[in-house]
Point group: C2
Chain length 339, copies 2
């Protein structure tokens, strides 16, 4: 049987409330000897306060959760590292939940997190559980959104300027002589997820704005499953004129694009230029290092967690929700042609 505060009190010959005071750092009204005594007994007994009991009473767990769409996504893992570091520096525990972009999973997590009385939630949401998120946020469990903005949820949001990112990318491609640009994005037409919509929209707008040749077929809505992607690319290459550059709307998509081209024996950039949205660890070390539009993911994660913890500490008071945009950055490597 685990040792409890009562055991400590008994062994020290004092009452448990004094021990409790000690545990909570209220030494002001405690004799020096008592304090010494308690500290010694605790060490001897290897006493560790039961966090469940404490949290039950205090109504706070000092634990927050990050619910992400996929831990395979390098952008997410970097974001998490930022969030994690900020937590650590501020004495919070972090629970990581991988919702796999599945609304049902996401909702299940929200429920168990709520039942575990988590203090706050950082989430890159599927956008399908807005009521649940709103009600959490309203009922005292602060929620901060990152990467994906959902106007219906009045919560702090940290994301990137998607239009700027696409603009950076397209201008870079143009500078390398590319005019026929295909854009690969996850299905977005009936998805509530904003980044893909914003990026696809920006692509369309900018292609028009810059007077580039356009084709419906060049806005490719597809999963990043490599078999499927492979077919879509074949279709694309069967038509004339073909695009000369492929622009992936996020890291996973670009990674698949690179692999599919490699498996087809197509060289980058000689046979096809490739540009990605989001950077990833291996991008510089591939056969052809990949040029990308990168988000400052680590900082964004830190910042999102900073806001979350601030909300928790301020008890989520009246402050209106803030929407913050970070600037993406173009990292030029070699996949769009030399120069």
């Amino acid at each position: 049987m685990a040792v409890t505060i009562n055991d400590v009190a008994r062994a020290a010959g004092i009452s448990k409330s004094t021990v409790s005071q000690y545990l909570n750092g209220r030494f002001e009204f405690m004799s020096y000897e008592t304090r010494q005594r308690i500290s010694q007994v605790i060490a001897e007994l290897e006493y560790r306060p039961n966090a469940l009991a404490r949290s039950l009473k205090q109504k706070k767990t000092n634990t927050v959760a990050a619910v992400v769409s996929s831990i395979l996504n390098p952008f997410m893992t970097n974001t998490i590292r930022g969030a994690e570091d900020y937590c650590k520096e501020n004495g919070f525990n972090l629970i990581l939940c991988n919702a796999d972009d599945d609304p049902a999973q996401e909702l299940a997590y929200l429920h168990t997190l709520a039942s575990k009385q988590i203090d706050g939630i950082l989430i890159s949401t599927t956008g399908r559980n807005n009521e649940a998120l709103r009600s959490l946020n309203l009922s005292g469990t602060p929620v901060v959104l990152f990467s994906r903005h959902v106007p219906e949820i009045e919560a702090d949001t940290v994301c990137v300027d998607n239009k700027l990112g696409i603009d950076l990318g397209i201008r870079h491609l143009m500078a390398h002589g590319h005019r026929r640009i295909a854009f690969f994005v996850l299905p977005h037409s009936q998805s509530p997820v904003t980044p893909r919509r914003e990026r696809a929209q920006a692509y369309c707008d900018l292609v028009r704005e810059y007077g580039l040749p356009a084709s419906e077929a060049w806005l490719v809505e597809t999963t990043n499953d490599e078999a499927i992607l492979s077919k879509r690319i074949e279709e694309l290459l069967r038509q004339e004129p073909k695009p000369t550059a492929l622009f992936g709307a996020n890291d996973l998509m670009t990674m698949s694009l690179v692999r599919v081209l490699a498996n087809k024996g197509l060289r980058i950039p000689q046979d096809m230029a490739v540009l990605g949205f989001d950077d990833w660890e291996w991008a510089p070390y591939l056969q052809t290092p990949i040029t990308v539009v990168a988000q400052p993911s680590y900082e964004m994660g830190r910042r999102a967690m900073e806001r979350l913890i601030m909300r928790i500490r301020s008890k989520n008071d009246a402050m209106p929700p803030a929407l913050e945009h970070y600037e993406p950055e173009l990292i030029i490597r070699r996949s769009c042609g030399e120069r």
Copy 2:
């Protein structure tokens, strides 16, 4: 204020113990109407039982933790996925802790996990907190070790047959005409961590056994920091005769090796062959696809979690601890030469 079991009882016009029965699926002694009524009230009120209170009383949290040395390590992330899946299938929650191979961090996690009354721990330990782990295991929080075996801790362990892995690797290199093989491993002489010791030992033994030329300088003990690694490689190449192949003792090491060689303009395998222990996602897509000795990481993670949950369910009864070895597999790509 959150809704409690009392609110539900009151709204349903019954006592809270009946509601509790309902929550715990004990419908046997409950009228059908009561049952209906409760279910309806719960839905209306959006009642979610407080897991803290429940766990406090039941003395179990239905939550386990995985403490890993690094989430940047692809071997670990695959292992985690296996563990995660098994948890999910069995109704357990998983908390992921990244100890960063720092014994102090690890110990801190063990303490907070214990205080959170976690039901069990899966760990790839630094080997520096053996007493803590033993005492957890003995005092009712089952511990399962994976990847790293520590004889002093009598707990189930799931790991790979390291000697076999090194043998597979060395024989493959020999088959490609390599005889001067350098082995890159993290500092292990005074580290309690077994895999690196076993692998280094196996390297030494097998080099002797196969009558390969040996040199103290070819057993390179180094961190995988790229700057440092770069220096070590330069030193190695300054001497005659040079090795013709580099064997990385784990994924992170091999990844760094590949990057350092790339940055030096050395071609794989023409200028230097490379072989890795542990596979990783990008290994097949690099300039030269990397040949590796792979561990069945997903299965190992699943299996480790299976044992852990079994221990939890059986209340960690007398069963003697089991040590399981999985077989590694050679995945031939192109980094050791064509053939």
